[in-house]
């Protein structure tokens, strides 16, 4: 038995060591650090106290950012669903020869840097951007309207980043539907719409929920769109972490905020796993 085990153990050693020392231990460290104290001099003092968490929930500011993060995440899930289901359905039912190319195109943004995709919206929504320029040219406007630095602009950036995840998840689960089920429904007198409502839609729900979870988790953990496309009032929880850790170097408090974010996500994923099962996520990644 020992003879058989040393080979897989040796093969796995580098990967496991890397993930254990560079991920598991560091993340555990965040939790430890969140109980530490910060001296007025800026030094971190090992301690076990809940001051950082108390500070987070002491006034309305930090909890309101937490609530905003949850709200924006739900908004981005809803928008991705509205914008993503129909294209996914189009890929599923379309008989065009160019289907492979169309699908490849939807995956193309994965290959473009997040920072470029985010900043590209400044060219569209800015005062001298495409939309204002067009509206002024055709005489509808005399002065540009401000479309940047608000929640709408942040959502534009988020959706453009997340929509491919949603579309691919829904598409994968649509492709898995046995087409004879649809034929059966149709032959029993269902209209096209009824067949969709009674057969296709329910069977595509695993993809819908997997896509929604992915979009929610990715939105809740992002700071770039609020930082570049949002105003001071659009910060999300990851922005707070960035500001504490990179800006004011307040490590213990930054760690406590990170633990709050992690707890939120673990709760979401745990709830999801309880009702839906997590394996669907990895299915679409492949």
């Amino acid at each position: 038995m020992r003879n058989k085990l040393w080979k897989p153990a040796a093969l796995l050693a580098p990967a496991t060591t890397a993930v254990f020392f560079l991920l598991v231990i560091p993340v555990a460290f965040i939790v430890v650090y969140s109980f530490w104290l910060r001296a007025p001099s800026g030094a971190d003092i090992p301690a076990f106290q809940f001051g950082n968490y108390a500070k987070f929930f002491a006034d309305f500011f930090y909890p309101s950012v937490l609530l905003r993060t949850i709200r924006v995440s739900f908004e981005s899930v809803a928008l991705c669903l509205v914008m993503g289901y129909i294209p996914a359905y189009f890929f599923y039912r379309s008989t065009t020869k160019h289907k492979a190319i169309l699908l490849l195109l939807i995956m193309l943004p994965f290959w473009i840097s997040f920072i470029i995709r985010t900043m590209s919206w400044i060219n569209i929504l800015g005062d001298t951007g495409l939309i204002n320029h067009f509206l002024i040219q055709i005489g509808l406007l005399s002065t540009p309207i401000g479309m940047l630095y608000n929640e709408g602009a942040v959502l534009m950036g988020l959706i453009q980043y997340l929509l491919p995840f949603m579309i691919l998840n829904i598409y994968v689960s649509l492709e898995g539907i046995d087409k004879s089920l649809l034929e059966a429904a149709r032959s029993m007198g269902c209209t096209e719409w009824q067949a969709f409502k009674e057969v296709t839609l329910p069977l595509s729900l695993p993809g819908v929920s997997a896509g929604s979870l992915l979009v929610f988790v990715l939105t809740a953990g992002t700071y770039l769109p609020p930082m570049i496309l949002g105003g001071p009032g659009n910060d999300m929880i990851a922005n707070l972490i960035f500001k504490r850790v990179i800006g004011t170097l307040d490590w213990p408090f930054g760690s406590a905020i990170s633990v709050v974010l992690l707890t939120l996500l673990v709760l979401i994923v745990w709830t999801y796993n309880r009702y839906m099962g997590i394996n669907q996520i990895f299915k679409s990644l492949q």
Binding site: L12, T16, L23, V27, F29, I115, N123, I124, S258
Partner: protein
Amino acid sequence: MIKVSGWSLIRFYTILVYIFMFAPIAVVIVLSFNPQQFGCFPMEGFSLRWFFKLAHNEPILTAFKNSLILGSLTALFSTTIGILAAMAFVRYDFPGKNTLNTLLLTPIMIPEVILGVALLLFIRWLQQPKTFVLLVIGHVVLTLPYVLLIVQARLGGIKREYEEAAQSLGANSFQTFIEVTLPLLTPAILAGMLFSFTISFDDITATLFWATAQSQTVPVKIFGMLRNSISPEINALGTVMIILTIGTPLLAGYLSRKFSKGN
């Protein structure tokens, strides 16, 4: 009649979604050829002046060099580690296999911000300085799950009989791996390397935590430039990045198809 118009509505909607996805990217590329001083409309002709200006911008060239080295090292390490782990998962049975597999895939599920803070905190506790090495090890952790998924999927598709045939003909397991498994795995290895290179080359969220003034990558540089305002130079830099990261996989796909036809 209703069915036809329903379908054309679906098609129209899909086209609109495509426009939403690609218009901003197209505008970056178009504006990078605008000779005007500010990165905005209207277009006043066509010029390559911002690309020439980029080519003479020393800090940006350094950032490009950093990004290329970082991406290549990440691809090399992450693919090597990933292949070894995938071999263990696909070819061997051992207790705790599923748990370990899930553990190695967790970096996908943990937000990059947390990964960024965690590793930085750890380095700080060890009293190590932030260096280029931090970026490399960080990017390996970020890309490892993707390589693992790609190689594992391919390895599962390679029949064990090939390896068993080689072994029954007297090859030892190392020879079998080099002569049989590795050649069959080549497409997955290339895909894994390409994927990890691109993720590393493009990454901003975690990299912003790990980069220093000396080890800036192109995305970090773009982020710094955005602090002032959007300039035509940023659009030009964006265009170069887009062409590089989209062109490479397209070229690789084209070449692999050409080679497989040749065989």
